[in-house]
């Protein structure tokens, strides 16, 4: 559904970016007004944020103009499912570490989820590979090189 303004079709991408940039500019300004301390001499902590906010506003205007000027360029097709698999895999890592599931389990899930994003269906096989990879990395980096990695049930056995 093409957006229209005065009979011209608007390119939705620059329009969206323009809106996001405007919001970002407002966010920076809002945050900056909350600063209470100033420098005694020279330039205070507010000058740079205001300058950046001004730049963001200008870029937003630039994007609005760009959305007017040309019909949207054809974009290459893209799947969003795989992106969700990868994002979900990373989110699972956060969740697993949060509940204390440990490094190895987290890496196993991330590995399998990413492989799934690239079209693999053999989920058990991939979980297995992920487990071995996570285990090997954990042993190498904690036992040999004294790095500290999050512990979970599997790590406690080791």
């Amino acid at each position: 559904m093409p957006l229209r303004l005065g009979g011209r079709s608007l390119d939705p991408v620059p329009l969206t970016v323009g809106v996001v940039l405007s919001c970002l500019a407002l966010l920076v300004v809002w945050d900056t007004t909350g600063l209470t301390l100033s420098s005694v001499y020279g330039m205070g902590p507010k000058a740079t944020p205001y300058l950046i906010a001004t730049g963001l506003a200008a870029l937003a205007i630039g994007h609005f103009i760009a959305s007017l000027s040309a019909a949207s360029a054809p974009r290459e097709a893209a799947d969003h499912g795989p992106v969700a698999w990868i994002g979900g895999g990373l989110a699972a890592v956060v969740a697993i570490l949060w509940v204390g599931g440990g490094f190895i389990v987290a890496m196993m899930v991330l590995f399998a989820a990413t492989a799934r994003a690239f079209g693999r269906r053999a989920i058990l096989q991939d979980l297995g590979i992920g487990l071995v990879l996570g285990l090997a990395m954990y042993l190498l980096f904690t036992k040999l090189l004294a790095l500290s990695l999050p512990q979970g049930p599997i790590e406690h056995i080791l």
Partner: protein, 322 residues
């Protein structure tokens, strides 16, 4: 009577066995030390040195060091207070910088919530000027500061840190307006030192060790140290000798989570006491050039309270905390 006697004997045996178990458990605990900073920094080095000394001296069976960096150590502090509550084998390294960071970062958790164990090391600060500076003594610097605080630029570490607080206390002690000091924070000792050597700033304030090489090479003039008494091997008067009532040190300490029983606290203090007395720890202090400032138990708890009050007061008077 016989039954009672046997009962008593059994109870006594059980008590002995339990006591034996407990002492062995307490004598050789498996400790975890959190450094609330990234690997490589001062707190991390302290934690890893403790690890070495605890194991070498037999005070602990094993020690695991973890790093929880962020926000002047307050991220680690929050984790200690919330996630490790009641864990008798967890310790955290901290120091003066954390006291200030809690206030400037408006941290929801404070050092009032932790169980103080011991102060380990301390470093006095040095006030220096470039070798060709017109200021020959702390009094000269004080006079210049009183005349126009804006013209005296100070180089030191991060805003609200120990160096900044020392500069503010200096101004206060000599009767200048501490809110008007021109303090320029630099990241890391190297940059502040470069600004001094390049003659970009009037004076520098930081740990004595940061300046030592340059002072000995005659590139910087040491005006004073912030110690209560003269330091051995340092040829400089204290501020007190020059009529400026100020002493301050950048100390590092170790604390435990909240919610420990009196015995658990005692056991941790004993463990750290044992470590501090060990030759291994003394050797590390010498290697790293750290000054021993050992103080444990209740005296340390009282010291921590005093420092918190003093820092809060200074940060308010400098205007860094409202």
């Amino acid at each position: 009577m016989r039954i009672l006697g046997r009962g008593l004997r059994l109870a006594a045996l059980a008590a002995i066995a339990a006591a034996g178990l407990m002492t062995s458990a307490f004598a050789q605990p498996e400790l975890k030390i959190m450094a609330p900073a990234a690997p490589g920094g001062g707190w991390d080095q302290t934690a890893r040195s403790m690890q070495q000394a605890l194991v070498a001296s037999g005070a602990a069976k094993s020690v695991q060091v973890t790093n929880v960096p962020g926000a002047g150590g307050t991220v680690g502090l929050a984790q200690l207070v919330n996630a490790s509550k009641g864990d008798p084998n967890q310790l955290m390294v901290n120091g003066f910088v954390m006291v200030g960071a809690i206030l400037t970062n408006k941290s929801p958790v404070t050092l009032d919530q932790v169980t103080p164990i011991a102060r380990l090391t301390g470093e006095y600060l040095a006030i220096v000027v470039p070798a060709d500076s017109p200021h020959k003594s702390a009094k000269d610097l004080a006079a210049a500061l009183k005349a126009d605080p804006a013209k005296v630029t100070w180089a030191g570490g991060s805003a609200g840190g120990v160096d900044h607080i020392a500069a503010a206390l200096f101004a206060k002690a000599v009767g200048a307006d501490p809110t008007k000091i021109n303090y320029i924070p630099f990241s890391g000792g190297g940059e502040a030192l470069a600004a001094l050597l390049g003659g970009r700033v009037t004076a520098g304030v930081s740990g004595y060790g940061e300046f030592e090489g340059q002072i000995k090479a005659g590139k910087l003039r040491l005006l004073a140290v912030t110690a209560p008494n003269r330091l051995p091997n340092v040829d400089a008067p204290t501020l007190k000798e020059q009529g400026i009532d100020l002493d301050i040190a950048n100390w590092r300490s170790v604390v435990a989570p909240p919610g420990l029983t009196a015995e658990q606290r005692r056991a941790l203090i004993d463990t750290i006491d044992k470590m501090a007395k060990s030759p291994a720890w003394q050797e590390i202090l010498k290697q790293k050039g750290w000054d021993d400032a050992y103080l444990s138990g209740d005296p340390f708890a009282a010291f921590l309270k005093e420092e918190q009050a003093r820092v809060a007061d200074v940060l308010k008077s400098v205007g860094l905390v409202k």
